[in-house]
Amino acid sequence: MNHGLAAGAVTTDRTAAVRAAVWSALGRVRDPELDESVTELGFVASCEVSDDGTASVRLRLPTYFCAPNFAFLMVADAQDAVCAVPGVERAEIELADHFASDAINGGVAARAGFVRSFDGQAADELDGLRGDFLRKAVLAGADRVCRPLLAAGRTVDDLAELTLGNTPASPELDRLRARRAELGLPAGDGDPLLIDPATGAAVGAQGLPLHLRRARVTRVSVDANAGVCRGLLYERYGVVSGKEPS
């Protein structure tokens, strides 16, 4: 009997560890439009792991009509991330309360892709869309990195000379570098801090003022959008985003 209890406790500990790893994996799944993790945004309504290794994740979004393409990417990315966690035998990812919940949940579970999941309504998979929004994230990230540098007294001309390697370290710089690497853009220490996110070419001193203006408005747009999304999520579910469900 004692042995049985001990075995049960071991299993429970292991399950708890897998559950923590699943939560952590979900933290690396991002809303492609907002470039923030679904856990930070409060989009994970529940996350459970059973003793047999089944991970059940329920996602929720700020509105019933959130764009179905981005919703599909988040559910598919969550499925990939959770399935890759050691100890997870099966992943059940469910998007709740959305007009296209059935098409998305069924399509992702069957690994059918976007075109087959939305039969007749989509022309292509979502790689192009994802790339477009990663490029916006790179542009917005340039503002996040440069604004404190300018406030600290660097000039616009100084910025044109900076490389990723000699820019002062910050979480925002790491994030920018990661997004660039994801896109296959130059992301090494010797590469310029400021590049055209479409081509990867360095932004020269002449083009820099306009580039920074574009970076700023892109960041304002993404931040304002995220602010509205957080507000709507609160109105819909009464939760302040960023809290891990217990």
């Binding site: 309504q121 408005v217 304002v220 602010g227 509205v228 109105e235």
Partner: protein
């Protein structure tokens, strides 16, 4: 006319609705969408001040008396522009139609401007209906919703060849103001439904028409700003910007307004309360009282003058719609005769 600190503001609410989203109007079999739509709108109302929130039942359908009170008796609105949204796939008699808007407008002469709407998927019949509506109601503008569902279709684009026929018809009929509202779906679904490139395309091809991008292209403010700065006939409709951000996210509100002022300027911004999502009163009073904060974070952005606020709250829309402005609501001669405000972002040197 709203008066504050000795200044008079002629208020044109550029975006209002008279809708019926009550369950009795839900199309059988489509209830989930009809319910989802109005619940989504209702959540937006939650971004306004708590004392202006309504119950979902009140929000689904409201009376003429209530609307007239909220806009004109309490809301400081002088003239309101109806922006129809049909959604007949979900709502039996339509959600908010030109016909319903016009019936209300007819009872209150001088208070409303009635806009039409069109959908390029309606083909020749739609063109005929557009002409009939324009002739019957004297429309000078249309409201377009590119994410509207129609049968299996989840939306359309202003780049569609059929759209050009409708824009030509607008030009022929003297319908100069094209309000475009983007939504979450389009054909094909893998494209970004909020992309404003099709507005850019249409604005270039139809330079005599004005394109007012509603909700300033939210959530694509950056794309909208890049586009609008290159197209002289593109305007920013501020519905949702004021209602959704000024109270709930004041810092982002300031930044969005600062960006719009920089990229478009004060002659291109048009206030809209988006009733019944938000009542106009707190928006008008709040915006007149509002100023760009002094903090370092906002140092890039210009302050908003009284003249700029007068233009945004009413004079710009009055110009587009030939609405007569009482003399005391206009601008002083010097300000009125000034050219477009702000610098030209693509040409001017920029300080960061």
């Amino acid at each position: 006319m709203y008066e504050k600190d000795g200044e008079k503001y002629f208020v044109v609410d550029g975006h209002t609705h008279f809708w019926d989203a009550s369950p009795a109007n839900w199309v059988p079999g489509q209830e989930q969408y009809a319910k989802g739509w109005i619940e989504c709108f209702h959540a937006y109302q939650g971004l306004g001040p708590p004392e202006t929130h309504w119950s979902i039942e009140q929000f689904q359908k409201y009376s003429e008396e209530k609307m007239m009170r909220h806009l004109f008796d309490e809301g400081h609105v002088d003239v309101a522009i109806f922006q129809p949204t049909y959604l007949k796939q979900w709502y039996t008699t339509g959600f908010n139609t030109t016909e319903t808007n016009a019936a209300l407008a007819a009872k209150h002469p001088g208070k409303f401007v009635v806009n039409a709407s069109w959908d390029p998927r309606a083909g020749d019949d739609g063109l005929r209906e557009l002409q009939e509506k324009v002739e019957r109601y004297g429309c000078k503008g249309v409201k377009l919703y590119t994410a509207e569902w129609r049968g299996e279709s989840r939306g359309w684009s202003l780049k569609d060849p059929e759209s050009a026929r409708y824009l030509e018809k607008c030009q022929e009929l003297g319908v100069r103001n094209i309000h475009v509202h983007k939504g979450p779906t389009i054909w094909p679904l893998d494209k970004d439904a909020f992309d404003v490139a099709d507005v850019d395309f249409a604005a270039t091809n139809f330079p005599e028409l004005n394109f007012i991008v509603e909700h300033v292209g939210l959530p694509r403010i950056e794309d909208f700003c890049f586009m609008a700065t290159q197209e002289p006939n593109v305007y920013a409709g501020l519905a949702v910007v004021v209602g959704g951000l000024m109270h709930a996210r004041p810092r982002f509100f300031a930044k969005v307004m600062g960006e719009l002022m920089f990229w478009l300027g004060e002659d291109k911004m048009i206030f809209g309360a988006d009733y019944a999502i938000w009542e106009p009163r707190w928006q008008v009073e709040g915006f007149v009282d509002w100023q760009m904060p002094d903090d370092e974070e906002f140092s890039d952005y210009s302050k908003f003058s009284v003249e700029a606020k007068k233009k945004i709250l009413g004079l710009n829309a009055a110009r587009l719609y030939d609405i007569e402005v009482p003399a005391e609501g206009g601008l002083a001669e010097t300000a009125e005769s000034a050219g477009p405000a702000g610098d030209t972002p693509l040409a001017a040197p920029v300080s960061v």
